[in-house]
C-alpha cells in the first residue's frame, strides 16, 4: 500500500484545505485535546527550569553558529564519521536521496526495512520510492504505524497521529492486524503494536532512520525517542541508513547540554524522554556493522542563502510551536499540505519547496507570536512569516506602498520586546480596519464579540492580497493573556 504523500506541489492552498478540515469536528477535538495536554505539561516543566531563558539563548547561539560555519562542521563530521567506520553520502535533492537509499537497500538484497520515525524521510517520500523498488518499509513508531496502516498522513512532527483517537486507532488495528477482539484502551493498542513489531525487530536486518543531531567533533549521531523502537532499529539490524538534513550538525558533544534539556521539555513535556541514543559510527560487537548517513540538502542551502529566512534552519523539530499555535489547533496539520505543519511548516515548507508551491502558507498565521515565545531556539517565526509574505507580494507583482508596509511590519518584529509592544499597539491601530461583518475564513478559537477580528481590506497598503485573502487582525488580547485566562476557567 502506498499512501499518497502530503506534497506542497499538489496540495490545495492552506485556506482551501483548512476550510474543509474545519468541518471535521472529531479531528478538531482530537487535535485540541492532544495539544492542550502537551502544552500544560510543557509549561509546568519549563517554569521549574530556572535557567530556561539562558538555555534558550545558548541553544539559539549554537544553532546560529552552526549555520554560519556549516561547511566547516559538515566536513569535520564527515571526517570523523568516516574514521569511525561509517559511510557518508551527499544528496542534492529528494530524488537523489531516494536513489541512494534504494541503491543501498538493493545492494544488500533485502525486500524489507524497519524505520524509525523521521520527518526527513517523509519529506523525501522515501517509503513510496522503496515500495516502487519492491521494498516494504515497516514504520515502527506507534504513531507512524497508525498512520501507515491507516493510509493516513502525519499531522504533527512529534506526535504524528494526534488527530486520531483511540476508537479510530482500534478500527485501524482491528482491520490491518486481523484482531477482531482488540480492546480500545490505549494499553491494549500499544500491546498490539508491540507484538506486531517484535517479530520484525528480530528478523529484519536493515533499518532506516533520521537523526536529531550529528556531532562534528566525534562523528556522533544522536536520536531521541520514547518507545524503544528507535533503539531496536539502531542496535539490532546489520545495516543502518540514516537520512539527515545538512543543518542538523552541532560542533561538539557539549553543545548537546542545552539542546538535550530543552528538546524533551518542549516536545512532550517531559524532563527527559525515555531514551536518548548516541553513538559514533561502527562499534565492533555492538550494533550495526554497516552504517550509512545520507546528508540531504533539498532546498536547505537556499534557505541558508536568505539572511532573514536562515534562522528557520535553527529548528530542532520539537513541535512546541505547533501546540501553541491557535491556527494549527483549529485546523490540525493536514491543512498545511506538507509533513511540516504549524508555524514551523508555514515558514519551512515555502522555503524548501520554492515559494510558488506554497504561497498561501505564510498567511496561515495570525502573527500572535505564541510560536516565538515557546521556541527553544528562539526562531522569530512571525518575522520570517512577514518576510515570506513580502516575497509572495514580490513574486506576484511589486509596488511601493505594499513593500513599504511590509518593511514597516518587519521592523516591528525584529526583537522580542519590540514585538510585544507592537502586538499591543497593533491591536489599537488595526481597530478601524477589522471587518465587522461575517468572516469568511474563521479559524481562531478565541471568542470574538464586537468584531470578528479579521481584516478584510487594508486601504492602499496591502490591498493586493487582502482582497483575496482575509488577513487576521492582531488578537484582542495577547495569546499568553488569553491562554492564562482560559486555564483558569
Amino acid at each position: 500500500m502506498s499512501r499518497v504523500p502530503l506534497d506542497p506541489r499538489t496540495a490545495p492552498t492552506f485556506q482551501q484545505a483548512a476550510r474543509a478540515l474545519l468541518g471535521d469536528a472529531q479531528l478538531r477535538k482530537n487535535v485540541r485535546h492532544a495539544t492542550d495536554v502537551i502544552q500544560t505539561k510543557r509549561r509546568k516543566l519549563v517554569e521549574e527550569k530556572q535557567d530556561w531563558q539562558a538555555l534558550r539563548e545558548s541553544g539559539r547561539q549554537i544553532r546560529a553558529h552552526v549555520l554560519e560555519n556549516l561547511d566547516v562542521y559538515l566536513e569535520e563530521f564527515e571526517r570523523n564519521f568516516t574514521k569511525a567506520g561509517g559511510v557518508i553520502h551527499w544528496a542534492r535533492d529528494a530524488a537523489e536521496a531516494q536513489k541512494i537509499v534504494v541503491g543501498l537497500v538493493k545492494e544488500i538484497g533485502t525486500t524489507e526495512v524497519i524505520k524509525i520515525k523521521s520527518m526527513t524521510t517523509e519529506e523525501i517520500q522515501l517509503n513510496n520510492a522503496l515500495e516502487a523498488a519492491g521494498v516494504h518499509a515497516y514504520e515502527t513508531d506507534l504513531a507512524e504505524l497508525i498512520i501507515q496502516l491507516g493510509e493516513d498522513q502525519p499531522s504533527h512532527i512529534v506526535v504524528p497521529a494526534l488527530h486520531k483517537n483511540r476508537a479510530q486507532v482500534r478500527e485501524i488495528f482491528r482491520r490491518t492486524m486481523n484482531l477482531p477482539d482488540l480492546g480500545d484502551k490505549p494499553a491494549d493498542l500499544a500491546d498490539a503494536a508491540r507484538r506486531f513489531l517484535r517479530e520484525k525487530f528480530l528478523r529484519v536486518t536493515t533499518a532506516v532512520s533520521g537523526a536529531n543531531f550529528l556531532v562534528a567533533e566525534t562523528g556522533g549521531v544522536c536520536i531521541v525517542e520514547s518507545e524503544g523502537n528507535g533503539r531496536m532499529c539502531l542496535t539490532m539490524p546489520e545495516t543502518l541508513i540514516s537520512v539527515v538534513g545538512v543543518e542538523k550538525v552541532v560542533p561538539r558533544w557539549q553543545d548537546l547540554e542545552p539542546l538535550l534539556q530543552m528538546l524533551p521539555r518542549s516536545a512532550t513535556g517531559e524532563r527527559m524522554n525515555p531514551y536518548n541514543s548516541m553513538w559514533c559510527g561502527v562499534h565492533p560487537g555492538d550494533g550495526p556493522q554497516r552504517m550509512h548517513i545520507v546528508l540531504l540538502d533539498n532546498g536547505r542551502t537556499e534557505v541558508l542563502a536568505d539572511r532573514e529566512g536562515r534562522q528557520t534552519l535553527q529548528c530542532i523539530r520539537c513541535g512546541a510551536c505547533q501546540n501553541a499555535c491557535p491556527v494549527y489547533r483549529q485546523t490540525g496539520g493536514h491543512a498545511y499540505g506538507s509533513v511540516y505543519a504549524g508555524p514551523i511548516g508555514a515558514i519551512l515548507t515555502p522555503q524548501l519547496m520554492h515559494l510558488e508551491h506554497s504561497q498561501s502558507l505564510p498567511y496561515a498565521s495570525s502573527l500572535c507570536g505564541a510560536c516565538y515565545e515557546v521556541c527553544p531556539v528562539k526562531i522569530n517565526i512571525p518575522e520570517v512569516l512577514i518576510h515570506l509574505r513580502h516575497k509572495v507580494v514580490e513574486q506576484n507583482g511589486w509596488y511601493a506602498p505594499e513593500s513599504l508596509a511590509m518593511k514597516a511590519v518587519a521592523q516591528v518584529f525584529r526583537s522580542e520586546r519590540r514585538f510585544r509592544a507592537a502586538q499591543r499597539l497593533g491591536r489599537l491601530a488595526e481597530l478601524p480596519l477589522v471587518k465587522s461583518e461575517k468572516r469568511s475564513f474563521a479559524i481562531v478559537g478565541q471568542k470574538q464579540e464586537a468584531s470578528d477580528g479579521w481584516i478584510g481590506w487594508l486601504p492602499g497598503l496591502l490591498g493586493g492580497w487582502t482582497s483575496t485573502r482575509d488577513l487576521q487582525a492582531m488578537p484582542q488580547e495577547t495569546f499568553r493573556d488569553w491562554w492564562e485566562k482560559r486555564g483558569k476557567q
Binding site: 542534492r92 508491540r194 520514547s226 555492538d286
Partner: protein
Amino acid sequence: MSTAREEILRRVRAAKGASTLETAAASYAGIDRSYQTTATLSHEAILDLFEERLREYDANVFRVSALEVGAAVTEVLRSRKIERVLIPEGLPEDWQRGAEFVVDREFSATELDGFTAVMTTATVGIAETGTIVLQTAPGQGRRAITLVPDYHLCLLPVISVVETVVEAMRLLELTKNLPTTFFSGPSATADIEMTRIKGVHGPRFVDVILMN
C-alpha cells in the same frame, strides 16, 4: 560534472561565505553558556531527588551498602520471581546471587528474546531527570542486552549520581565516543490520546539498587 558533495559544499559557501577552522573556532568560543552547570543540592538531597524521580517512573529503588549488594539482588529477584538473568561481562561475582546468571556471548536477537531479565551496572545517574546513562563498557555490555529483556535491574554506585544533565554530560566527555544510552524510566508512549503507556518495545520494568 561536480559531485553532490562538492555541489552542496559550494552552495553552502555561496550562501553565507566560506568559513575557516580559525574563524569558526573564534566565534564558537563566544557562545553564551550562562545556564546552570553545577549542583545546588547536597549529595544526600541529590540521592533523594534521584530516588523520587525514579519512583515517579514506577521503578523500585533500594539503597544498600557495598557489602549487602548480593543479598539485595537476591531479594529483588525473588520478589520479581526471576530465576534466570542475562548479564554482561565484568560484573563482580558477589553481586550474582539468587538466580542463574548467564553471561552474554554475542547471543543472536532470537536468543536475547529468550531472556526476561538483565542485570547491569551504569555509568552515571542524573537526579534532576531520573536518568540512568549506560555505555558499552564492562559491567554494562552492548546496547542490545538492556533493550530486549522485559526487566532491567540496574546497580549504580551513589558516587555516580549527579544533580544535573550538564554535570553528567561533562563527566561523559571522557567516554563520549562509546555507544551511549540515556534511559529515563521504562519505555513509554503517549501517541494515543496523550495517555502515557508504560512499556512498548524497551524494558517495561526497571529496578535500581543504589550502592554506598
